[in-house]
C-alpha cells in the first residue's frame, strides 16, 4: 500500500511535469512574442524615445525568459570582468567595439546597437530546452543560511536558531537566509508556517508586471489591513506590514526607518491584504460548490431512484436533461439573473470578498453546473442497486426497505460519490473559468482567460501547472478514498486486476 502510494505519487508528478512541459512549449513556441505588447500602454508612452522603447521591450523579453539581455552598462561590466586590464567605455571607438564583439562572440550573444544613441547592447535567444531547464531549475527554492551573497554586506552572519523573537514569538530564525523567519506560528490556519521551501513560477508580465507569479496567484488581494505589532526596537504600532515575511534587503538599498525598526537587514516585507488570494478565492468557492452540488444532487437522485417512473422522477429527468443540453455559459447567465432577482449581487466586486452575499452567486452557480452530472450518475447507480440481486436477497431474508437502505444501499452508494469526486473537481475548474469571469470574481478561473488575453505567459503556465496538480491529485485522492469505502479495491503495486 505504501509502496503503491509512493509510485502513484511519482507517476502523478510525472504527469504534472509532462502536461506543464507541453503547455510551456506550446505557449512559448506558438504564441507570437510581440503580442505581449499589444495592450501595453508603455509602448505608446515610449513611442518618441526609441532607445528606451528597445530597452523596455528587450527587458520584457528577458523577464519572460525569451532572451538574455544586457544593456550597455551591464555589457561594459561583463566585458570588464573578463578583461580587468582594459578600460571599456560607452564611446563608439573601434577598441570598444572590438571588445564588445569579442565578448559577444565568445559568449554566444548577438551584438546590437540602439537606434538613436548607437550604443551597444547584447541579446541571446534562449533555446527552448534551456528555458525549460531554468523554469524547472528555479521551480523549488530552498532557503539556507548561504542563500544570500551580498558584496555590500560581507559580514552577514549565517545561522539558523530557535528564538523567542520580540515580534513573532517562538520561531526558527535565520540569518544569511532569504527569509528571517524560517518556521513560525500564528493564529491562522494551519498555525505552523514555513518560509523554507517556496515555489517559484517565474515573473508575471505584462499584467502584475514584475511580481512573482506565486505572489500574483497566491498572495492576498484587496485593501491592506493593519495589525498592531511590537517591533524589535520596542516600538509598538499599527502596520500593514506582514512581519512574518521579512526578507533580506541589501544595505545598499537600505530604508533607514525600517532598519531602525527591525534592527537588522530583513526589512523587505509583504503587505497584509484583506481579501483571499486568487487561489484562495477559487478554492473556497470550489470547495463549497462541491459540497453544495452533492447536498443538492444526492437527495434529488435518491428521490428519483426511489420514485422511479413517478412524476418526481420524470420532472427532474426533464430538468436535468435541459441542464445538460444548454451550454454552460447560458446557464450561468440565467442562474445569475435568477439569483440577482433573489437579492444576491450579480458581480463579485460590488460588495467585495468580505461580504458573504458576494460569494452566494458564484458558489451556487458553480455548484449547479455539476448538479446535473451528479444527479444522472447517482440516480443510475441507485436504480442499479435497488434492482441488484443482493438487495433482492436482503429483502427476501426479511429486512424492511428502510433497513436495506440504511444498512446496504447507502453504504454502497458512497462508492459512486467518492468515485465522482475527481471528475467533479476537474469539472469545477472549467466551471470556475466561466463563472468567475461572469461574476468578475478575482480567482484563478478568471485569471486564466485574463492572462491568456494579456499574453501573460508565466501566469498561464503557472495556472496550467496548478490546475493539473489539482486534477492529478484529486484522481489520486479519489482512488485512495475508493480503497477505503470499497473493500474490493486494494491499492497494490501489481495493479493489473485493480483499476488503480
Amino acid at each position: 500500500m505504501k509502496k503503491y502510494l509512493f509510485f502513484r505519487v511519482l507517476r502523478s508528478i510525472v504527469s504534472i511535469f509532462l502536461v506543464t512541459t507541453i503547455a510551456y512549449i506550446m505557449v512559448f513556441s506558438m504564441v507570437p512574442r510581440r503580442d505581449i505588447f499589444k495592450q501595453d500602454p508603455m509602448i505608446q508612452k515610449l513611442a518618441n524615445d526609441p532607445d528606451s522603447l528597445t530597452d523596455y521591450k528587450e527587458n520584457a523579453y528577458r523577464k519572460m525568459n525569451y532572451i538574455d539581455y544586457f544593456d550597455t552598462k551591464s555589457l561594459i561590466a561583463k566585458v570588464e570582468a573578463e578583461h580587468p586590464d582594459a578600460k571599456v567605455t560607452t564611446a563608439h571607438t573601434a577598441a570598444n567595439a572590438k571588445l564588445f564583439k569579442e565578448w559577444a562572440n565568445d559568449n554566444g550573444y548577438k551584438l546590437n546597437r540602439y537606434s538613436v544613441s548607437k550604443n551597444y547592447y547584447v541579446t541571446r535567444e534562449l533555446p527552448l530546452l534551456e528555458r525549460l531547464g531554468r523554469f524547472y531549475g528555479n521551480l523549488i527554492q530552498i532557503d539556507t543560511p548561504w542563500a544570500i551573497h551580498d558584496k555590500s554586506n560581507p559580514k552577514l552572519a549565517r545561522y539558523l536558531r530557535i528564538e523567542n523573537d520580540k515580534t513573532v514569538g517562538w520561531a526558527v530564525v535565520g540569518s544569511g537566509t532569504r527569509y528571517r523567519y524560517q518556521i513560525y506560528f500564528n493564529g491562522s490556519f494551519p498555525f505552523i508556517h514555513q518560509n523554507i521551501i517556496k515555489f517559484n513560477l517565474g515573473t508575471s508580465y505584462p499584467t502584475f508586471a514584475g511580481n512573482a507569479v506565486t505572489d500574483v496567484i497566491g498572495g492576498r488581494q484587496g485593501q491592506t489591513v493593519s495589525t498592531k505589532y511590537k517591533f524589535p526596537n520596542g516600538q509598538v504600532m499599527n502596520t500593514a506590514d506582514n512581519v512574518y515575511t521579512r526578507q533580506y534587503q541589501s544595505p545598499s538599498r537600505r530604508n533607514q526607518m525600517s532598519y531602525e525598526r527591525y534592527e537588522d537587514d530583513y526589512t523587505n516585507v509583504d503587505q497584509v491584504n484583506q481579501d483571499p488570494s486568487m487561489i484562495g478565492t477559487s478554492v473556497r468557492a470550489g470547495f463549497w460548490a462541491l459540497i453544495l452540488s452533492y447536498v443538492i444532487g444526492i437527495p434529488i437522485a435518491l428521490g428519483m431512484a426511489r420514485l422511479k417512473g413517478k412524476w418526481f422522477d420524470r420532472l427532474f429527468t426533464g430538468v436535468v436533461t435541459v441542464l445538460m443540453a444548454v451550454p454552460g455559459l447560458a446557464l450561468i447567465y440565467t442562474f445569475r439573473y435568477v439569483l440577482s432577482v433573489a437579492g444576491a449581487p450579480d458581480s463579485f466586486p460590488t460588495k467585495g470578498a468580505s461580504a458573504f452575499s458576494s460569494w452566494v452567486g458564484p458558489t451556487v452557480v458553480l455548484a449547479l453546473l455539476s448538479v446535473s452530472g451528479i444527479v444522472i450518475w447517482f440516480r443510475r447507480y441507485m436504480v442499479d442497486q435497488q434492482q441488484s440481486d443482493y438487495v433482492k436477497f436482503a429483502k427476501s431474508k426479511g429486512l424492511t426497505d428502510r433497513e436495506i437502505y440504511r444498512k446496504h444501499i447507502f453504504k454502497n452508494a458512497s462508492i459512486p460519490v467518492v468515485q465522482g469526486i475527481p471528475s467533479n473537481i476537474i469539472g469545477l475548474i472549467s466551471g470556475a473559468m466561466m463563472t468567475e469571469t461572469v461574476f468578475a470574481m478575482p480567482g484563478m478561473g478568471k485569471m486564466l482567460p485574463d492572462s491568456i488575453i494579456a499574453h501573460n505567459n508565466s501566469v498561464v503556465i503557472a495556472l496550467v501547472f496548478i490546475f493539473t496538480t489539482i486534477g492529478v491529485f484529486s484522481v489520486l485522492l479519489g482512488d485512495v478514498l475508493m480503497s477505503i469505502v470499497d473493500p474490493r479495491i486494494q491499492l497494490a503495486v501489481s495493479g493489473d486486476e485493480q483499476n488503480g
Binding site: 441488484s388 440481486d389 443482493y390 433482492k392 436477497f393 436482503a394 429483502k395 427476501s396 431474508k397 426479511g398 429486512l399 424492511t400 426497505d401 433497513e403 444498512k407 446496504h408 453504504k411 454502497n412 462508492i415 469505502v485 470499497d486 473493500p487 474490493r488
Partner: protein, 366 residues
C-alpha cells in the same frame, strides 16, 4: 408416505399473476393450484420463461412493482398470504417462515459488507439476539454449511469467497432463522458440476437436520431426480403435470413432459444428438385458445387448439392437463426414447454416484 408428510403447509389455489408492461398486460401465471406438504421437496421444472420464479415470488410477496396477483389464493399454515398488503406484513413471513436462495451466489451478497455481518444481521433481526450471540450462531452456521475455519473467515468480504462458498453462505443466511419453507430458485445453475453436487448434498443434509420443506426450481431434470419427492411441470405459466418423481419419470402423461424428459442430457448417446423441443413458447400477452403447448406438440389433437384441457387425475398424487387423458382420446404411447427411462437413469445415477464419491475423496484429501 407417512401421515405427517401429508400435512399441507402451503396451499396455492387458482393463482394468476399479471404484469403491466408499457400499458400492456402480460399474464405470467394462469390459474395454478398446488400443494406443498410438510417436509417434502417439491421440484418445479419447465423451460425458461415458464413462470417458475414468478410463481414462487408470490409466496414471499417479492413480485416486482409492475406485477400483482390477479386471482386466486395462497395459504400458508392457515394464514392467507394473498391478503398481506404491504412490506411490513410480509417481513414477518420473509426469511422467518419462507426463505429464498437465488440463482447467482456471486451477486446475492452485499459486496462491501463482511460475510459474517450479513449472516448475523438476520439473526439479530428475526431472533432478537445480541450482536455477540448472533456472531456465535453465525459462525456455527458457517461451519455447518461447510465453511472451513469459519471463525477466521467471519470477517471476510464476499469477493474473497468462491462461488460455491458464497452459495453456502447464502444458504446459511436463508436458514439462519429456521424457515419452514426454503425456496431454491436454481441455486446451482451458476456453479460447476462438482460444486453443484456438493451444494445439493448440503441442502439435503440441512433438510434432515432442520426439517423444512423445499421448493426447488430448476430446468435440469437430472438434478430433480436426485433431490425431489414430487415434481410440478410448468409450461407458459400453467401447471401442466404434477406427480411423484417416479410418476413423472416413469409414467409421464403430458406431451410437454415427454419432450422435457426426451431432452435429458443423460439420454444423448454418442451417435444421437441431444433432443430439443422444436418451436418457442407462446407469447404471454395474448389469450391462448386451447392447450398452450399444442402448436409445438407433435401429438396435438384437434381439440387441443380449441379448448383448454382440464386437470385429469391419474392417481391420488398424479395429475396432468392434457386431452390425451380424456377417455375419448386416441391411445398414444410416449416416445420410445423415454420408454425404459428407469434403467437408463439408474445407470446414470450409478456413474453419478461414482463421480461424487471421487469428488468427495478429493475434497477430503484437500
Amino acid at each position: 408416505m407417512s401421515e405427517e408428510e401429508q400435512k399441507t403447509i402451503l396451499k396455492v389455489r387458482d393463482l394468476s399473476v399479471e404484469f403491466q408492461v408499457r400499458g400492456k398486460t402480460l399474464k405470467a401465471i394462469h390459474h395454478v393450484s398446488l400443494d406443498l406438504h410438510d417436509g417434502e421437496t417439491l421440484a418445479i421444472v419447465g423451460e425458461s420463461g415458464s413462470g417458475k420464479s414468478v410463481l414462487t415470488k408470490t409466496f414471499t410477496g417479492m413480485l416486482e412493482q409492475n406485477g400483482h396477483v390477479s386471482g386466486g389464493t395462497i395459504e400458508y399454515n392457515g394464514q392467507m398470504l394473498t391478503d398481506l398488503k404491504n412490506d411490513k406484513q410480509w417481513v414477518k413471513i420473509r426469511g422467518k417462515e419462507i426463505a429464498t436462495v437465488f440463482q447467482d451466489p456471486m451477486t446475492s451478497l452485499d459486496p462491501i459488507h463482511t460475510i459474517g455481518s450479513q449472516i448475523s444481521e438476520v439473526i439479530v433481526k428475526h431472533q432478537g439476539k445480541s450482536k455477540s450471540e448472533a456472531k456465535k450462531m453465525a459462525i456455527e452456521l458457517m461451519g455447518r454449511t461447510g465453511i472451513p475455519d469459519a471463525a477466521e473467515r467471519y470477517g471476510d468480504y464476499p469477493f474473497e469467497y468462491s462461488g460455491g462458498m458464497r452459495q453456502r453462505i447464502v444458504i446459511a443466511i436463508a436458514l439462519a432463522c429456521h424457515p419452514k419453507i426454503l425456496i431454491c430458485d436454481e441455486p446451482t445453475t451458476a456453479l460447476d458440476v462438482t460444486t453443484q453436487a456438493q451444494i445439493l448434498d448440503l441442502i439435503r443434509d440441512l433438510k434432515e437436520e432442520y426439517h423444512f420443506s423445499i421448493i426447488f426450481i430448476t430446468h435440469d431434470l437430472g438434478v430433480v431426480a436426485s433431490i425431489a419427492d414430487r415434481i410440478a411441470v410448468m409450461y407458459s405459466g400453467r401447471l401442466i403435470e404434477v406427480g411423484t418423481v417416479d410418476e413423472i419419470f416413469y409414467d409421464p402423461r403430458h406431451p410437454y413432459t415427454w419432450s422435457l424428459l426426451s431432452s435429458l442430457p443423460q439420454l444423448a448417446t454418442k451417435d444421437t444428438n441431444l433432443y430439443s423441443i422444436p418451436g418457442t413458447p407462446p407469447s404471454l400477452y395474448s389469450e391462448i385458445k386451447g392447450d398452450a403447448f399444442a402448436p409445438r406438440d407433435p401429438y396435438a389433437l384437434k381439440v387441443d387448439f380449441e379448448r383448454e384441457p382440464p386437470l385429469f387425475k391419474i392417481t391420488d398424487t398424479h395429475y396432468a392437463r392434457t386431452w390425451l387423458l380424456d377417455p375419448r382420446a386416441p391411445k398414444i404411447e410416449k416416445p420410445e426414447i423415454i420408454q425404459n427411462l428407469h434403467e437408463r437413469i439408474e445407470k446414470q445415477m450409478e456413474s453419478d454416484f461414482m463421480k461424487r464419491a471421487e469428488t468427495e475423496g478429493e475434497v477430503n484429501a484437500s
